[in-house]
Assembly symmetry: C2
Amino acid sequence: MGRPRNFDVDKALLAAINVFWEKGYDGASMKDLTEEMGINSPSLYSVFGDKKSLYIQAIKRYVASDTCPPLDAFNEEEDITKAVRAFLETSLEHATQQSIGRKGCFMSNCVSTTTASVEESQVLLLEAIVLADKKIAQRFDKEKAKGALPETFPSFERAKLMFDLRQGYVLRARAGIRKDEMERDLDYRVSIILSL
Amino acid sequence: MGRPRNFDVDKALLAAINVFWEKGYDGASMKDLTEEMGINSPSLYSVFGDKKSLYIQAIKRYVASDTCPPLDAFNEEEDITKAVRAFLETSLEHATQQSIGRKGCFMSNCVSTTTASVEESQVLLLEAIVLADKKIAQRFDKEKAKGALPETFPSFERAKLMFDLRQGYVLRARAGIRKDEMERDLDYRVSIILSL
DNA sequence: GCTATTTTTTATCAATTGTTATAAAATAAT
DNA sequence: ATTATTTTATAACAATTGATAAAAAATAGC
């Protein structure tokens, strides 16, 4: 009973992700957040608590959505060489997209900057990295079982290698390096990740 | 003539770097800055201009100092294998050091987060990356001339590869992954960077 | 010892920060 | 229709934000 809520809690949370992603935790003001979420501050505070609490919920919501475009592209491609290429290519696309906000990855672009100031954010980032490593390694293992990769292929090491190369792309994109320039050594990196 | 300045401008600027490094551009308040720089705000504003101007000068000062510990370790080591190892090892050390502030790299930890909001910061970050790539590649070229690396060794691609792997370490360190855990595949990465 | 000049100090500015009372509005149960 | 309950809207809170005005203090030249 009582007056019904006239906004979608989940939609508001998704909007909050975008604000934090674009402006960072410190850079995002409550005014920015309430405007983008389409609610006023008392509603925000009653549903999400204070700024820090909202931020943590935003991270958890992002992680729960479990949609990392490069990882999805990696898993959707059947051929392992094409899959690795798709991972790097999709990483580049998202890192260099000009549209404001949602640049690169929410976890590495935003959450990584708050691990010192917002306690809970560190373990959430850690879990996301560990999960990504594991998913990539599992795919490599599957290829080994298929015979597409040799038994000696070090899945876990290569998984971490591929993941870490993405972080380099993200930094370079932020520095303004264009996608087509970074694409030039993309195939070369694919061959390194899969080298025997 | 006039009343003499009772603080060292350069020392104050170096202190400002530390504040931005530790707290980020948005997270660093003028109060934080004046306290750490040991001056009061009118002095700050008269010498450095506003916050954005101080920030740009801090970045330029950091770049001018030209001291990137991993890069220095890389160049000081004679043997190329040991040099690559030293680069990664030093990257890990600085990324994981527990002392507050000066974690990882000022450029990638702080400046990379302001490329959208502080216009001038982007090109400064770009120049730093381009310079680092070049320095690493030049060292590889020297090893090729010495015969320590084959003529076919792709210096520039490997330089960028090594540089980008560091970004992965920085992210992982922020997530709380320990140095000794990341050290486990350090030698493996050295062999990949130098593989023929 | 003045004067001119520059810096420091102290105090304060308006604006924005995150946050919360208070009261109006909208529903369900009685 | 009234009551109880919950959410909305409006307004305001104290604190902090980045930034200055005004006055005191310290030097060099005359």
